[in-house]
């Protein structure tokens, strides 16, 4: 076998391989869409608690969000107070949240505002369930995008029993329950 002939053949195959890689890349880009990020559809979420345990981050990048515009500002808040709470106050024994991440502040009679402390929230969804069952459902879980590392395949999405995780465009990264929410980033 002549070395020159071999070289030519190699060059040809290499060119073909380069075309193949380029072709694969091009056809994969055909519909190049904006960057995708993971988000929870609050309508599908069943508050199973896996968001707190299955995220690759500890604590989880999933946090409780509170849409104030649909909140009833109840004194007897199903998301804040344990169902068997002895009294309606900020006593630790009355709180539903395992990390005391919800702050209750008096506004005017008989309304109270509930604020989530995102540093304390672990995304367990216990308050979400309470608010869904007894209240307006203004508390719900969302992926917090300044924390999320945007894994190729979200570990919580894989574990989610109700298929509530979906990819949303990075330009519109939240699925808030109310459009009337004032937002800060």
């Amino acid at each position: 076998m002549k070395p020159k002939g071999k070289r030519d053949r190699r060059d040809f195959v290499r060119g073909a391989a380069a075309v193949l890689i380029g072709g694969a890349v091009l056809s994969a880009t055909r519909s190049r869409s904006p960057r995708w990020v993971w988000q929870i559809d609050p309508e599908k979420c069943t508050q199973c608690g896996r968001c707190a345990t299955h995220c690759v981050l500890a604590p989880s990048a999933v946090k409780c969000f509170h849409s104030y515009s649909i909140c009833g500002y109840c004194d007897l808040c199903g998301g804040y107070l344990r169902p068997d709470a002895k009294s309606r106050n900020t006593g630790a024994e009355n709180q539903l949240c395992p990390t005391a991440a919800i702050k209750r502040t008096y506004i005017e009679d008989p309304y109270f505002q509930y604020t989530i402390d995102e540093d304390l929230c672990i995304g367990c969804g216990i308050c979400v369930e309470g608010c869904d069952v007894f209240g307006n459902g203004s508390m719900y879980l969302q992926v917090k995008h300044n924390l999320c590392v945007n894994c190729n395949e979200c570990a919580i999405a894989r574990a989610c029993p109700s298929d509530a995780f979906e990819r949303v465009p990075a330009s519109e990264p939240y699925l808030l329950k109310s459009d009337r929410e004032r937002r800060v980033s």
Partner: protein, 417 residues
């Protein structure tokens, strides 16, 4: 026209009714002029993405330069450590080239699945570098390779026959991963990535056990993941076989001193062919002919085995698992429900729709299983043929396909430029 307008009105009222009925408590009207606080909705951080591409291309170029021009093992190893820190511990090992294969496949199968530019570059750049300079990506850029290179303290030799047999596993893994992506059953390469848990300093228990075992094994058998599992390595191997400028053991001419023979822990050094042919030419030609005729039969065997594996393969898909669970619960096979079946029952989807979807998926896995079997059969046939072909070689040379360009052999060569 009038009727149409009426319809629209009816829908609007229905919709409003539905949205208001959702809330048990009316939104209060505050006398004190209270305004509700804003919701904190930070956007995803985009800053590092461009840097990742820059660092990837820079490290690839530097690795090619070090391997082909500088030829210093120590410098290559330092670059490896840098990649381990940057792509591994700093960027948390995601997105990596190994996993990007799945994104490309997903983009090919489903045009709606967007493939971001970063992922495209992470997929294509190492392959194109391999086409020109060999597997410099494995040598000093891949964080998964780097962590194994860092722990390979006492690498022993794996018998060549064992190496050849085990080298079939990356093809199987690649085939399985592609089938999984094509059927929408998830990214199994990411799911079973052994080292990403170390990079993130946190992972599930099984992931840590698997990764830990890999690292302990990696002390004695260098780069076990790269050699016997890495699915991206298959593509790099193909590209590197064609590489234009591959690393060489000797800078100039080989003097046949045999000092390098034991330097490679990856069985990637090909020895010169013996002077005397090991067997009669006619006999070899016969065997080659038989092997080539055998290939279609191996492929057919693969198709058969693949179609037999339809059921276990289809269980990769969560919908199929859920349908089997629901059916099992209906038949009273399980004492209690689990979290998935409860969530499904709460969603009001009829069982029949789920079963229909699962049956369709199973049929898809049946077809995919045959393709997977055919692919693995073809690979086995080609490997058999490759083993029985004797290539004429006068010097000790790195095997262009399997050499990781790690540079261990450089310092064993007494020939200086």
């Amino acid at each position: 026209m009038k009727r149409y307008v009426l319809h629209v009105f009816a829908y609007v009222f229905l919709f409003c009714g539905a949205t208001f009925a959702e809330f048990r408590f009316p939104m209060p009207e505050f006398a004190t002029g209270y305004e509700h606080p804003a919701v904190h909705t930070p956007g995803p951080s985009n800053v590092m993405v461009g840097w990742d591409i820059v660092v990837l291309l820079a490290t690839l170029s530097l690795a090619a330069f070090l391997v082909l021009k500088r030829r210093k093992r120590r410098e290559i190893f330092l670059l490896t450590l840098f990649s381990l820190v940057y792509f591994g511990f700093w960027r948390n090992g995601c997105v990596c080239s190994v996993g990007s294969v799945q994104n490309i496949m997903a983009g090919l199968c489903d045009p709606g699945h967007g493939v971001p530019l970063t992922v495209l570059v992470f997929f294509a750049a190492p392959l194109i570098f391999a086409l020109f300079f060999g597997r410099v990506f494995c040598a000093a850029v891949c964080p998964l390779g780097a962590i194994q290179e860092a722990v390979a303290i006492k690498p022993g030799n794996v018998p060549l026959a064992v190496e050849k047999v085990l080298s079939i596993f990356p093809y199987i893994y690649l085939g399985l991963a592609m089938l999984s992506v094509a059927m929408g059953a998830g990214f199994i390469i990411c799911q079973y990535d052994p080292f990403v848990g170390f990079f993130r300093m946190g992972a599930s228990f099984s992931m840590l056990i698997f990764g830990g075992l890999m690292l302990v094994l990696g002390i004695f058998v260098a780069r076990p993941y790269c050699r016997f599992l890495c699915p991206y390595g298959v593509l790099l191997n193909w590209c590197s076989k064609l590489s234009r400028h591959h690393a060489t053991i000797t800078p100039t001419d080989c003097i046949q001193c045999e000092l390098c023979t034991d330097s490679c822990p990856y069985n990637a050094i090909n020895e010169p062919t013996p002077e005397k042919a090991p067997e009669d030419r006619g006999k070899g030609a016969w065997r080659l002919g038989i092997l080539i005729l055998l290939v279609p039969f191996i492929v057919l065997l693969g198709v058969g085995v693949g179609s037999l594996l339809k059921e276990p393969l289809s269980r990769m898909h969560p919908t199929v698992r859920l349908a089997e669970r629901i059916a099992g619960e209906e038949l009273g096979r399980y004492a209690e429900t689990n979290i998935e079946s409860e969530a499904f029952r709460a969603s009001d989807t009829p069982d029949e729709a789920l079963y229909a979807e699962a049956i369709e998926l199973k049929a898809g896995f049946g077809r995919g299983g045959k393709w997977l079997g055919a692919f693995i059969g073809l690979v086995m046939g080609c490997k058999l043929i490759a083993v029985s072909i004797l290539r004429k070689r006068t010097d000790y040379e790195p095997d262009h396909g399997t050499c990781y360009s790690c540079g261990r052999c450089f310092k064993y060569c007494p020939v200086k430029e």
